[in-house]
């Protein structure tokens, strides 16, 4: 390209006062590189890699006044435009294609300096952000897709690969291959925690009605829990089960502990302010993810960024959408509680869906009984679930703590895949010639919930062979013992245990502990305790609000491929809805919904190993969109060509 430079930060460089040019015949603006030669000893050095230097661009500006005073005045203006260290955009027109403008962006590193032996020619150098001319006007390709597979040609006029941004908007519902309905559930909890089992629907989803209306499969195979970030969460049916009026849907949710927040300035019920300010108390001990959402009363508001003022204890949100996720806009008074929320989409309606992994393998389900448990009460009828992947429900499964013997088959029957009981055994030590006490064992089973446990109920049995039983407790630690079980009334007889104990400090973990020592009178003394069921009352369970109504959903479940390069972007159950846009920006490597929420988890990449998601190579590129069931989707692709300098 041969460039005539026209503007710098919109100041004209091509008028009656100034003329600016890119030097001709000089390598300029390209990245120099330092070769990294590798010492091969007696062999010839080999080029290993290159260390690229930053790219500088030097150009000249003529000041056109015919008088000294005029030239000096124009020089002063020029000096004001090009201040060292300041950023700017330099625009030029290609002399060979005067309809096309290109720009460079960078910072001034050398202020206007008179070229030696000239009187009106100034030289300026800028350090470039990227070593390319970038096309000033966006190329836009609007592609309406009405079939499962379509191809579109997009042409990059530059000589360097361009990075497209694709805005995908479904216009009409799909005929198959994706869920057709979705509802947003807002979930909040007061403490930080990871992968907590939560009944999203609180056993209140009438799937029987949905099945009857032809919106859901009777098997529930189509019912998905979709994280807002795009991933599909495991889910397990509870309550009355699938195809009932009281279906619970258990899944795993992450929470962060945000401080208590209240609205600082009231919100009306019609407009989106530039900022929403919340006062907070306590300390900020977490990071609220940008591109997330808050809940005020029953309205969800998405935001792009936050700023925390720890001195005045204020958090400023920059809102993107009010009445988001299907909620309704409303006015909110100052002082109203503000919650950062996590949330999920519950989606269904793909009547061709097949069993999901968690329909086949239940080993990832919470360990407690899903039919009778709620978010406020975890009810254990067994204590673990057998499966090949038995470690995945860790927090709901009591874990073993402390030295000692344990068993999970009643009456010291050994360990089993499914823990029918959780038992502990103490015994004295038989040395052959004498019996001594075991003073080191203290086997325990620990139950947990990050929201705290306010009450513990359990049933089981206890046993002693000798005179001494040992000490069975329900405790947080050795200093916080809530309950101590009495010794069985008779030796060598199993006696029932029935516990119903409030836990005063609402601990986040509670242990069922058995501690000796027993006596030393022959025959060898032993004692056992076991629980056959247990229930935890949760002090501060997750709070769930089903916000908004059932919406028509649209699941992108296909690929976008550049057949020219074989780069493929795969969309995995990327849940959106008609008339909403999913944007895949290959330049910044970001993918987000209309409200700005990032949904990276829903993307995968196939094809050759590469650093970029998908590129448009110089010249024509064949882009193939494939998604079974597609009836009407519009993809608006924009890009700027790039050209070496």
């Amino acid at each position: 390209m041969r460039m005539t430079l026209t503007t710098w930060n919109s100041h004209s460089l091509n008028d009656t006062s100034y003329k600016a040019r890119s030097p001709v015949g000089v390598a300029n603006g390209t990245s120099n590189a330092t070769p990294n030669y590798i010492d091969m000893g007696e062999g010839q050095p080999i080029l290993g890699s290159m260390t690229l230097a930053g790219a500088m661009y030097t150009f000249t500006v003529h000041v056109l006044s015919l008088t000294d005073a005029g030239r000096e005045a124009q020089r002063d203006v020029l000096l004001g435009w090009f201040i060292v260290g300041e950023s700017g955009t330099l625009v030029g027109t290609d002399d060979d294609d005067t309809n096309k403008d290109w720009y460079l962006s960078g910072r001034v590193v050398s202020a206007p300096a008179i070229v030696p032996n000239s009187y009106n020619l100034y030289q300026i150098t800028i350090a470039l952000d990227v070593p390319y001319w970038i096309e000033n006007d966006l190329n836009t390709n609007t592609w309406n897709i009405t079939a499962a597979t379509e191809t579109e040609v997009m042409t990059n006029v530059g000589n360097v690969a361009a990075l497209p941004k694709m805005a995908i908007t479904p216009n009409t519902a799909k005929s198959s291959n994706g869920n057709m309905y979705k509802t947003f559930y807002a979930i909040k909890m007061s403490t930080w925690s990871s992968q907590i089992p939560v009944d999203i629907t609180s056993a209140g989803l009438n799937t029987s009605t949905l099945v009857g209306a032809g919106k859901m499969l009777a098997t529930g195979y189509d019912l998905q829990i979709n994280y807002l970030s795009g991933g599909i969460a495991p889910r397990y049916f509870g309550g009355g089960g699938i195809n009932s009026a009281t279906t619970g849907v258990w899944s795993y949710i992450d929470f962060i502990a945000t401080p208590p927040m209240t609205l600082s300035i009231a919100l009306n019920n019609s407009t989106t302010p530039a900022t929403i300010i919340a006062d907070y108390t306590g300390n900020i001990t977490c990071s609220i993810a940008s591109g997330s959402q808050i809940q005020i009363e029953n309205e969800v508001i998405t935001f792009s960024t936050i700023t925390v003022d720890t001195v005045n204890k204020k958090i400023t949100f920059v809102p993107t959408t009010r009445a988001a996720k299907g909620s309704s806009i409303a006015s909110h008074s100052a002082g109203e509680a503000v919650f950062w929320i996590t949330g999920v989409w519950l989606s269904y309606g793909d009547l061709s869906a097949t069993a999901q992994p968690w329909d086949i393998d239940l080993s990832g389900a919470p360990a407690f009984d899903l039919a009778t448990s709620t978010n406020a009460l975890w009810n254990y009828l067994t204590f673990s679930i057998a499966g090949t992947d038995a470690w995945t429900p860790p927090i709901s499964q009591p874990y073993m703590q402390g030295v000692g013997q344990r068993y999970t088959v009643t009456h010291n029957g050994g360990m089993s895949a499914v823990w029918g009981v959780i038992g502990s055994r103490l015994s004295s030590i038989d040395l052959g010639t004498q019996i001594v006490q075991d003073t080191s064992s203290y086997p325990g089973w620990v139950f947990r919930h990050p929201g705290g446990i306010s009450n513990f109920t359990a049933n089981g049995e206890k046993y002693r062979s000798g005179a001494v039983f040992g000490t069975m407790t329900i405790e947080k630690d050795f200093n916080n013992i809530f309950y101590t079980e009495a010794s069985p009334t008779d030796p060598v007889t199993w006696k029932p245990i029935a516990i119903n104990q409030a836990l005063a400090i609402n601990p986040t973990s509670v242990a069922f502990r058995f501690v000796g020592p027993l006596d030393i009178i022959p025959p060898l003394p032993e004692a056992m305790v076991e629980l056959s069921d247990a229930a935890l009352t949760i002090y501060a369970p997750p709070v769930i609000t089903a916000l908004g109504v059932e919406q028509v959903a649209y699941s992108l479940n296909g690929t976008i491929k550049n057949s020219t390069t074989s780069d493929i972007i795969r969309m995995n159950d990327l849940v959106t809805k008609t008339a909403e846009t999913i944007t895949i920006d290959c330049d910044t490597q970001e993918v987000y919904a209309t409200d700005g929420k990032r949904v990276r988890s829903a993307l995968g990449f196939e094809g050759p190993a590469r650093d970029e998601w998908l590129t448009l190579e110089p010249g024509a590129n064949s882009i193939v969109f494939a998604d079974v069931g597609t009836a009407d989707v519009t993809i608006v692709t924009t890009w700027r060509a790039r050209n070496t300098i």
């Binding site: 703590q401 030295v403 030590i429 190993a609």
Partner: protein
């Protein structure tokens, strides 16, 4: 050598992709490390992306994919932040088994029990993959971190572990950890100075403690605090070199005997240190994998049959890939002349 670099949450869900030159190491039976820098002006310089505990997953068209956990240090410098990540067994340094938990079975069965124990409180995303059932059955008492127990199990019984990232159909990350008898996979790769290996000041170093007789002891805690003893020896040109080693926690004499034998086998020859920095000539990098065995040829160092020159095999036990420079520093072991 392109490849996407993706950040995943501790639960295995993708958060973001980053553009960075990553220097990373992969180590056999150890924890490798990665370092990369992100400009503070980047849209990816966010706490939810660079959060401690997130996983960094680096793909590469030649080397094996790499995955590690972001952890300290996180160093803020002028205009950029330097971030460190560590291979996933790092997490096992912060997982405790049940105190004095007893695990029994073959080394592979004990390995599986350790991984299960590591995941018993919160998931590490580590999954036992291919697990060798070979080796002597034994019993041991767990008193240290899962990582220390794993290291001990590996060293005593001569097993390797290797981690590999796996992305399932829904895009979720997990890490498969394989357990296999110490060994290697023969390749056609020849490492040669002046061809695909940089010249080094010390191309070969013979080091290590020479031992040909080991007496092993184990104290069994309990009612009598009994001690068991076993030993093993072999003849060697350097004469008798004895060593007594405590293998506490071992309760069976066969296991103790086996451990003594393994120690002698490992100590009767020197270890051969070969600093090797490879460059990607031909398919060099494609053959750089942990446990791969490559041919190694030097003309003027080491003894072979009494004469000068050294040709042998090296087992790749680690490598550090410097993406910015394009070199791969190899850490090798078990060079056999």
């Amino acid at each position: 050598m392109p490849g996407l670099k993706t950040i995943y949450t501790p639960d295995g869900y993708a958060v973001a992709d980053i553009k960075a030159a990553v220097t990373r190491s992969s180590l056999l039976n150890e924890v490798g490390e990665a370092v990369f820098a992100i400009p503070t002006s980047s849209v990816k310089c966010r706490e939810d992306v660079l959060r401690f505990g997130n996983f960094l997953y680096c793909k590469n068209d030649s080397l094996a994919d790499w995955v590690g956990v972001i952890d300290t240090p996180r160093t803020w410098k002028s205009g950029y932040v330097e971030v460190h990540a560590f291979e996933v067994p790092f997490l096992l340094q912060y997982r405790l088994p049940l105190l004095n938990q007893i695990v029994s079975g073959t080394p592979g069965e004990r390995f599986t029990a350790l991984i299960t124990s590591a995941n018993s409180k919160t998931d590490t995303l580590l999954r036992a993959g291919t697990v060798s059932t070979a080796g002597v059955t034994g019993t041991e008492v767990l008193t240290d971190t899962i990582y220390s127990q794993l290291k001990s199990l590996s060293t005593i019984h001569g097993f390797d572990w290797i981690c590999s990232p796996v992305i399932d159909a829904s895009g979720r990350l997990s890490i498969t950890i394989d357990w296999m008898q110490k060994g290697g996979v023969e390749t056609d790769l020849e490492l040669s100075q002046g061809h695909n290996i940089m010249y080094g000041d010390t191309p070969l170093e013979e080091a290590g403690e020479l031992i040909n007789f080991v007496e092993g002891t184990s104290t069994i805690e309990g009612e009598t605090s009994a001690q068991i003893v076993a030993s093993y020896g072999e003849n060697a040109p350097f004469g008798l070199r004895e060593k007594r080693v405590a293998f506490d926690g071992i309760t069976e004499i066969t296991t103790l005997q086996y451990n003594c034998t393994q120690q002698v086998k490992a100590g009767i020859n020197p270890t051969y240190g070969t600093p090797l920095t490879a460059i990607n000539i031909g398919s060099t990098f494609r053959n750089i994998r942990l446990r791969n065995i490559a041919r190694y040829r030097y003309n003027n160092v080491g003894f072979t049959g009494g004469g000068l020159g050294f040709t042998g095999n090296v087992r790749i036990e680690g490598y550090m890939f410097n993406e910015a420079v394009g070199t791969c520093e190899l850490f090798t072991g078990q060079v056999t002349a």
